[in-house]
């Protein structure tokens, strides 16, 4: 078991190392002639107006919030699914009830119009 995690640790290092080399290599063998116009931020050839780091639409924020709720839900459901063999009918129904409550939450967000792109 520990071997497997050692392998994953080594794999993560390798997976970071290969693209890091690939990105660094052109810096060694490629040309390097920066100038003011080349470094400019692309905006269809016009001069850039203002900063890009601006306030964003709150709609994106609401979707991120709904996502958070459902992501935590699935974390609870994974152990439930793995231990399904050992669960009595009561526990299965409890799990179903849990999903239904979250479904009701989704319906609430739907009725409130949080899911509409306006």
């Amino acid at each position: 078991m520990l071997d497997n995690w050692l392998y994953i640790g080594l794999f993560i290092i390798v997976a970071l190392f290969i693209p890091a080399v690939a990105v660094s290599l052109p810096r060694l063998i490629g040309p390097r002639k920066p100038n003011a116009i080349k470094q400019e931020i692309y905006e269809c050839g016009m001069e850039t107006v203002g900063d890009a780091w601006v306030q964003f639409k709150v709609q994106y924020y609401i979707f991120a919030l709904i996502f958070l709720i459902f992501d935590i839900e699935t974390v609870f459901l994974f152990p439930w699914a793995v231990a399904f063999d050992k669960l009595p009918l009561f526990a299965v129904m409890e799990g179903v009830l849990f999903i239904l409550i979250l479904l009701a939450g989704l319906m609430y967000a739907w009725r409130k119009g949080a899911l509409d792109w306006a």
Binding site: D3, N4, W5, L6, Y7, I8, L10, F11, I12, I13, V14, A15, L16, I18, P19, A20, A22, V23, L25, P26, I29, G30, P31, K33, K38, Q39, E40, I41, Y42, E43, D51, A52, W53, F56, K57, Y60, F63, A64, F67, F70, D71, T74, L77, F78, A81, V82, F84, D85, V92, G95, V96, I99, L102, L103, L106, A109, W110, L115, D116, W117
Partner: protein
């Protein structure tokens, strides 16, 4: 003699031990080499895939595709590689330099890391951990962070728009994807990849076709390819989150996208098409690898085909499709699977009857969904706009009469 890969690794271990190295060090070295081989294999596959995909795209769009460099254009990806390696990497003014340079590395790494737990064959599996599915979901989310970092750090408005869309899209489609993944986990009673493969008698595509369909659609959205390529929609926001990237910085996003599609094919094959299993695969792992690659390619081809056939969807359609259709549907599929599974287990039916009843339950859900969709929008018919016939080119009237 049926397992040459483990044979070679054992021989290698013994060789190193014979040199007088400590046992722990030998283990680390052989595991590191294994990891490097699997990761390199992924990248080599991408080189082949770029050629394959361009050839398929050419065939579907009625053109030859790459055919100049080498026989059938086979050397085209290598020519592209040489070109992209010798190009300058520019960093725009005012960009967040650290995040800007880390983002392409992270994008590539997030896809590569998934391959640590994918079983190639019964005995050829990198890490057979008991939380494989959870690991895939966790590592796959790094890709979203990479896209966000790239878009945010570029200091470019198009890139920022692409990053915002990435939040809305990739984060949203993660929900039905994970819930669809719960179905094979529930059916196999395990999160280990090899356990899921072993539990597939018959394949889960028969027992849970709806979950497979949801997983296919949501994975395509996660990859960010047409019809879900809103985060880099070239006709709307230039190139989306990687507008400011040049040379290998862009190359990494490009390669990671190809590898991600291939990974989606591998995951679909593992979760729903029996992975490496097939006739004779238990005794001969090489056969298992062959089956696995064939099944993966089928999944890959399917995604490519859909990509080349469908136009891009609008952002409101994309979000409505996810939150108002896929998410409730996946939850219902999960509930029905759980209840029917428990009921059949208590009734103690045979395996073939179990599979048939599960299939019937899935078909029933599909039928009800179609009925509901028809009830919601009864008069929705495909609108066909008839244009007056206009010839594109008219032959000049002959003047000599």
């Amino acid at each position: 003699m049926g397992d040459p890969i483990n044979l070679i690794s054992q021989w290698f271990n013994n060789l190193l031990l014979g040199w007088g190295l400590a046992e722990g060090l030998v283990k680390v070295i052989s595991l590191a080499i294994g990891a490097a081989i699997v990761a390199t294999l992924g990248l080599v596959t991408v080189i082949a895939l770029i050629w394959v995909e361009r050839k398929i795209a050419g065939r579907l769009q009625d053109r030859p595709g790459p055919n100049r460099a080498g026989p059938f254009g086979l050397f085209q990806p290598f020519a592209d590689m040489i070109k992209i390696f010798t190009k300058e990497i520019t960093t725009p003014d005012g960009a967040d330099k650290v995040a800007f340079n880390i983002a392409p590395i992270l994008a590539m790494a997030s896809v590569l890391m998934i391959w640590a737990v994918v079983p190639f064959a019964g005995t050829v599996v990198g890490a057979n951990i008991n939380v494989g599915v959870l690991y895939i979901v966790a590592v796959g989310s790094f890709g979203i962070v990479a896209v966000l970092m790239a878009g945010w750090s570029s200091n470019n408005k198009f890139a920022l728009l692409g990053a915002f869309r990435a939040v809305a899209q990739m984060v949203s489609y993660e929900v039905p994807m994970v819930i669809a993944l719960l179905v094979p986990v529930l059916l196999a009673r395990s999160m280990g990849m090899n356990d899921i493969v072993a539990a597939q008698t018959p394949w889960f595509i028969i027992i849970a076709p709806l979950a497979a369909l949801i997983f296919l659609i949501t994975s395509m959205a996660e990859v960010g390819r047409a019809p879900f390529d809103l985060l880099e929609a070239e006709s709307e926001i230039v190139a989306g989150f990687h507008t400011e990237y040049s040379g290998m910085g862009f190359g990494m996003f490009y390669v990671s996208e190809f590898l991600h599609v291939w990974t989606v094919g591998a995951l679909i094959a593992t979760f729903f098409f029996g992975g490496w299993s097939g006739p004779g695969a238990e005794n001969f792992p090489i056969l298992g690898i062959l089956y696995f690659y064939m099944k993966t390619f089928i999944g890959y081809f399917l995604v490519t085909w859909i990509r080349l056939s469908l136009p891009r969807i609008r952002i409101d359609q994309m979000l409505a499709f996810n939150w108002k259709f896929l998410t409730p549907l996946s939850l219902v599929v999960l509930i029905v699977t759980a209840v029917v599974d428990k009921a059949l287990e208590m009734a103690g039916v045979e395996r073939w009857a179990y599979a048939l009843i599960m299939l019937a339950a899935n078909l029933l859900i599909g039928w009800i969904v179609v009925l509901i969709l028809k009830a919601v929008e009864p008069n929705r018919k495909r609108q066909r706009v008839e244009f007056e016939h206009r010839p594109v080119a008219v032959a000049p009237k002959s003047t000599d009469s």
